[in-house]
Symmetry: C2
Subunit: 296 residues, 2 copies
């Protein structure tokens, strides 16, 4: 049924991440049907040969693999379990690959529902941002049945560079949450360190150069530090999306009875950034919140 050269694929959710990811699958020669809430975003892919469908179930009808890349848990639940959702037309053997970052427990529920129809649900959240999506250099963290992961590996390789099988259903999402805990606390470290540096009269650019290559180094320092110094808060990865991911991580930590003090702090600071109207700025805008609160 699955031939590497011409699988029948469906892609649901053609936003800033999904559109270029779907484009890579199309470019690799696969039959691609697509669905998106807003049709206009599909025009480019349609002009390149993708077939438009008017509902998730219709997009999935003849597909071997259905990819989903939407925003939040309820969005995925609607695409999979809702009226006209993928589940309503799922055939045995169907593999659903969810690239959204959503709740690990909701993920396991959908995997169970799909398994009851003989299908498979892989959680496969990504990191690497819109640039990683466009350049096919995403990191993809996959949970679910390992055999099905191996079956879709060549497809994932069209979109990502680092593929990691993380274990049973939900483990891809949990790994993504680990990623976000690291990303945001490292971000906070840069905010506080630069606040200290600038308050001390140090040249912040020289300071980054002096410390960034050693034990103090991080992706966040190298990539967001210079933007913080310049007051350049253009997104990158938006505060509002980071807030959504932090909410998921906070829920998962609470389910496990974990009290993570630094993560709790950074979660509150991102909420504050949202309340101050910074939702559509990049995550480096956390610097403005930290700098202000440090001086109060």
């Amino acid at each position: 049924m699955m031939n590497d050269q011409s699988r029948s694929l469906a892609f649901i959710g053609l936003g800033i991440m999904g559109a270029p990811m779907a484009g890579h699958l199309l470019a690799a020669g696969h039959h691609l049907t697509i669905y998106n809430r807003t049709r206009a975003k599909a025009d480019d892919l349609i002009s390149r040969g993708a077939k438009w469908c008017s509902s998730p179930v219709e997009a999935a009808r003849d597909a071997d693999v259905v990819f989903i890349c939407v925003s939040d848990t309820p969005d995925v639940q609607k695409v999979v379990m809702g009226d006209g959702g993928v589940l309503s037309g799922a055939r045995p053997g169907l593999i659903v690959v969810d690239h959204s970052t959503i709740s690990p427990s909701a993920t396991r529920e959908m995997a169970t529902a799909l398994a009851a129809k003989g299908g498979f649900f892989l959680d496969a959240p990504v990191s690497g941002g819109d640039l990683g999506a466009r350049n096919a250099t995403l990191s993809i963290m996959v949970g679910g049945d390992e055999k099905q992961f191996e079956a879709v590996r060549p497809l994932l390789q069209c979109m990502g560079k680092t593929l990691t099988y993380c274990g049973p259903s939900g483990n891809g999402q949990l790994t993504k949450l680990v990623n976000q805990i690291l990303v945001t606390i490292n971000n906070l470290a840069v905010c506080e360190a630069l606040t200290f540096a600038m308050s001390s009269g140090l040249d912040p650019q020289k300071t980054i150069a002096a410390v960034g290559g050693g034990a103090a180094g991080s992706w966040q320092l190298t990539n967001l530090g210079p933007k913080m110094i310049a007051g350049d808060f253009k997104p990158g990865f938006m505060i509002k999306l980071q807030r959504k991911d932090l909410r998921l991580a906070m829920e998962a930590a609470r389910e496990r009875g974990l009290d993570l003090a630094a993560f709790d702090l950074v979660h509150r600071l991102f909420e504050e950034a949202g309340q101050e109207g910074r939702d559509n700025e990049g995550t480096q805008a956390l610097f403005a919140i930290v700098e202000k609160s440090a001086k109060q």
Copy 2:
């Protein structure tokens, strides 16, 4: 007076960092006089041609440049300002290079005292650990007179790879404190992320591999994460030395009226590690403190 091929140098403080650093200067062909509180640590350098002296002032008497590498602010003050200290025999033009990590304000006081005798005091704390000292790959962050920094640059290049001039006296120390703020908060990020991962049943090694190459990546994750997982708390950089540096950074932050919440948190956690008898373990032992407190 200063000939690159055979300067007269003195090195005071031959510990785990100072001994290999002094060795590099000796290997480069300079005349080296040495002093250390405990003479036994000087034996190797003496056998290689260094000249032993019985006090800092005696070691410095004929030196163009005096290097200091001891532990804390009072140790440097004693070496420089104490009875038989460097200052008591300082000639005009003497350059003192202090590689210790100490108080920025005490640094400025010593620079002023030395300037009154026509000498120069450069603060030049290092990062990169004992491995960096042995391999001459240290990062060296220098504050003080820029002309004097340029005069000793060839000597610093014998010991370090990344030399950064950070501005007036004390700015090398302040830059080192920025380094330690980043290092310790990034360390805390790894502790909390791995606590979350392991409590969630994820394979922590796979998790580091999945997230370490992207936006979540840091030196601390790559180098300390695997040791945390393995429960390998051998030093590296000892908790008690990190506590000393954090105390200096906390004092400097308070002098500036800064309230840095994540840094305050990690400072308290390192104090707790000290109280729990972990002073001689490596900084990755913070994981044991964080894991326990997260589950309380």
